[in-house]
């Protein structure tokens, strides 16, 4: 009898604990970078059931800090922002098994609202492990007035781009950098070169083949353009290149979607009314462009969080809430959010062309499906094996065999099957 009452009481207590009337606000620990702070803050303000405890972590330190927290088994964040798409793969290994599998937790209908390949860096071995915040595919940025003044048409193919370089390079104009790893990476994959491409349907398998014409053709283009000076031997953030860009010597360059707002406007300081954008370039033998990306952050949740439902809701909201993403600093990967964001950009008098967003959205269709999250950094390997020898007279084409060896070794070391 007594036992029965006790059992009934405890059942009642358990029921009461679970009912929302008695629920206290759940606290989620969040690790963010600086630009995302206001977005997390907005969630905190608009959700009474959740309190966010946000810590700012330098993007480059994120993995190291998570490793430490996992090792110490304390202070592990429930939700994180990842500035590097490689982090998704790096935080879902046996050794650092942090990320929650979101495949069944985010409705398919919502996943379908993303741009094509928008979430490709979040798919690792068929699982959805993160939600993409922003797109970062490469497009053509140009100074409309300067191009008109020079009497040049904006190129639509790589062949035209190279020809424009041949004409303008000797006159001291530059069409961007040839030595920064990410732009170089994007030139090299533009014709479908297999630089560490995940093999569809095979877990942890990548294809690496840099000996094909698809790789040699862009490599030769970069070498020729470095030689005639139309691609600079300076990185895009080096003081001398910034000075060049400020002085009207960079009429056009290939850059990611965030370049306009975050590099050209504040750093290169092009005057208002000159900056315009065009679709990514294609090779003459391609039917449509294939464009690589440079960055694009993602949100992930901890698989062992005490509050999985709230953590998933936060991740989803951050990536897809339209009111939130409209004021985001970068082009949202979620299409309805991006359209609201684009309407804001169209009113910005800084751009020479109100259709910059339309160009960016159109270009998203050509985004490379192989832009995936990997457990090692291909761009670091390019910097080490290709870029550094360039300074002592090497060529991109000449460095491809060494790059093939380096990438194959790195892939095997990180547990990939190489085809």
């Amino acid at each position: 009898m007594n036992l029965k009452i006790l059992a009934a009481l405890s059942g009642l207590a358990a029921g009461a604990m679970a009912s929302p009337a008695f629920a206290e606000a759940v606290t989620l620990n969040v690790w963010s970078d600086t630009p995302r702070l206001t977005m997390f803050d907005l969630y905190d303000q608009t959700h009474d059931n959740v309190t966010l405890n946000v810590t700012t972590v330098a993007p480059a330190d994120l993995i190291a800090k998570i490793q430490l927290a996992l090792q110490a088994k304390s202070e592990i964040p429930d939700v994180i922002f990842m500035s590097d798409i490689g982090y998704t793969a790096q935080l879902s290994t046996r050794r650092s098994n942090y990320l929650m599998d979101l495949t069944d937790k985010v409705p398919q209908a919502l996943q379908d609202e993303f741009y094509p390949n928008g979430n490709s860096p979040c798919h690792v071995n068929g699982k959805l492990l993160c939600m993409r915040n922003d797109l970062a595919h490469m497009i053509v940025w140009y100074d409309k007035s300067l191009m008109e003044q020079l009497g040049k048409a904006v190129p639509s193919s790589w062949e035209e781009f190279q020809k424009l370089g041949e004409e303008l390079g000797p006159q001291g104009y530059s069409l961007g950098t040839g030595v920064e790893a990410f732009p170089l990476y994007s030139y090299l994959v533009s014709d479908g070169c297999d630089i560490v491409m995940p093999v569809e349907g095979k877990a942890d398998t990548v294809k690496i083949d840099l000996s094909t014409d698809k790789c040699l053709k862009p490599a030769r283009m970069v070498d020729a353009m470095l030689k005639n000076g139309s691609l600079s031997k300076l990185g895009p953030f080096e003081p001398d290149f910034v000075a060049l860009a400020k002085s009207g010597k960079v009429p056009l360059m290939i850059g990611p979607t965030w370049f306009g707002e975050y590099v050209i406007k504040p750093t290169y300081e092009w005057p208002a009314g000159r900056l315009a954008a065009a679709l990514p370039l294609k090779w003459d033998d391609q039917t449509q462009p294939l464009t690589w990306s440079w960055g694009g952050g993602t949100y992930g949740a901890w698989k062992d969080t005490a509050h999985p439902a709230e953590a998933v809701d936060l991740v989803t909201w951050m990536a897809t809430d339209i009111a939130n993403q409209t004021n985001a600093v970068t082009l949202p990967a979620h299409r309805p959010s991006a359209e609201a964001w684009g309407a804001r950009l169209a009113k910005d008098a800084y751009y020479a062309d109100p259709n910059v967003f339309q160009v960016e959205a159109e270009a998203a269709k050509f985004s490379h499906p192989g832009y995936a999250s990997l457990r090692f950094s291909v761009s670091d390997a390019i910097a080490k094996v290709v870029v550094q020898p360039l300074a002592s007279g090497g060529t991109v084409e000449g460095a491809l065999p060494a790059l093939q060896t380096e990438l194959t070794n790195l892939a095997k070391l990180n547990g990939y099957q190489v085809e």
Binding site: A181, E238, Q388
Partner: protein, 311 residues
């Protein structure tokens, strides 16, 4: 009787003195241990314990904490980047230790042969970079070596280096890191050798001067042989320190992503294992190998050269 009593008296006195001296000696020993205690405590906490912990960790899979013997060591030896890192670190150490031994010896001997006040001022100036953290020195050097902003711009241009990449490939990374480390570390040694040189016996210097030795001969024939052992000691300590190279290559990325060096040195590889791959076991294995190498090299030098043997 009186003689005998004096003898007993003096014997008792001597015994007493010996006892007092012994007690004083014990007191001194206890005092020195007391003074050493804070250092020993910190050495145990931050030196000996982590090394022992890493040694233990290196035989375990740190994810499921199962013993797996030498698997971590095997992983390290299979890593294709290790031979390159070993070569990098050795070339850095060769350049840096050479630069330090020659540079510190020359500067110390020169300072010892000029007026005391000027020498002290210069020593303080040499010491200053050592007071700045090495990370700040790296950033400073990245500016000095960039032909577009460097105060030594004309020199760099005259050599034909127009971009940072030209300078880096021209000097070589090992050379650049050696220069950075030399300027941050040599000042302290110059101060130490200032002390060593000023404590050399004055009568020897006097005798040499009477025999007609000029300043150069005095420095190279008399002073240098007398401080040679200290120079070797500095070499050993620098060698062990040099193997631990980390900050200089790790911060190269500040010069631009195309200059980033993530796996240049062995310590960086240990960092990569632990904090990029999450493999603390492999990291511990590499660190243990590094400590082992330093200890073996130090022992060989100490015993093969009978370094601590008193003359």
């Amino acid at each position: 009787m009186s003689i005998a009593s004096t003898t007993t008296h003096s014997a008792a006195e001597a015994r007493d003195r010996a006892r007092r001296a012994k007690r004083k000696g014990q007191r001194d020993t206890r005092m020195s241990y007391l003074l050493l205690a804070p250092y020993l405590l910190l050495l145990m906490m931050f030196g000996v314990f982590p090394v022992a912990y890493a040694f233990g960790l290196s035989f375990f899979d740190t994810i499921e904490m199962v013993f797996w013997g030498l698997a971590n060591y095997d992983f390290v030896f299979q890593d294709f980047r290790i031979p390159a890192s070993v070569a990098n670190v050795l070339s850095f150490v060769a350049i840096w230790v050479g630069l330090t031994m020659v540079g510190v010896a020359i500067l110390s001997l020169m300072l010892d042969s000029i007026g005391r006040r000027a020498a002290n001022t210069l020593r303080t100036i040499y010491f200053l970079p050592g007071a700045v953290t090495s990370s700040a020195i790296v950033v400073l050097w990245l500016f000095v070596l960039d032909p577009s902003v460097s105060p030594f711009q004309p020199v760099l241009h005259a050599i034909g280096w127009d971009t940072r990449a030209d300078v880096i490939s021209g000097i070589g990374l090992a050379g650049i890191f050696a220069i950075m480390a030399y300027f941050s570390g040599s000042g302290g040694w110059i101060v130490v050798f200032g002390g060593a040189l000023s404590s050399l016996p004055a009568e020897v210097m006097e005798a040499a001067r009477v025999d007609g030795a000029n300043r150069f001969q005095l420095a190279t024939r008399i002073k240098l042989p007398m401080i040679w052992k200290s120079l070797v000691l500095m070499g050993i300590l620098s060698f062990a320190g040099g193997l631990q190279l980390f900050v200089e290559p790790q911060l190269m990325g500040l010069a631009g992503p195309q200059f980033a060096q993530n796996d240049w040195s062995l310590n960086q590889m240990a960092f990569q294992y632990a904090f990029r791959m999450g493999d603390f076991g492999a990291s511990a294995a590499l660190s243990t190998l590094l400590v082992g190498a330093s200890i073996i090299i130090a022992l060989v030098i100490v015993f093969a050269t009978k370094f601590y043997k008193l003359d």
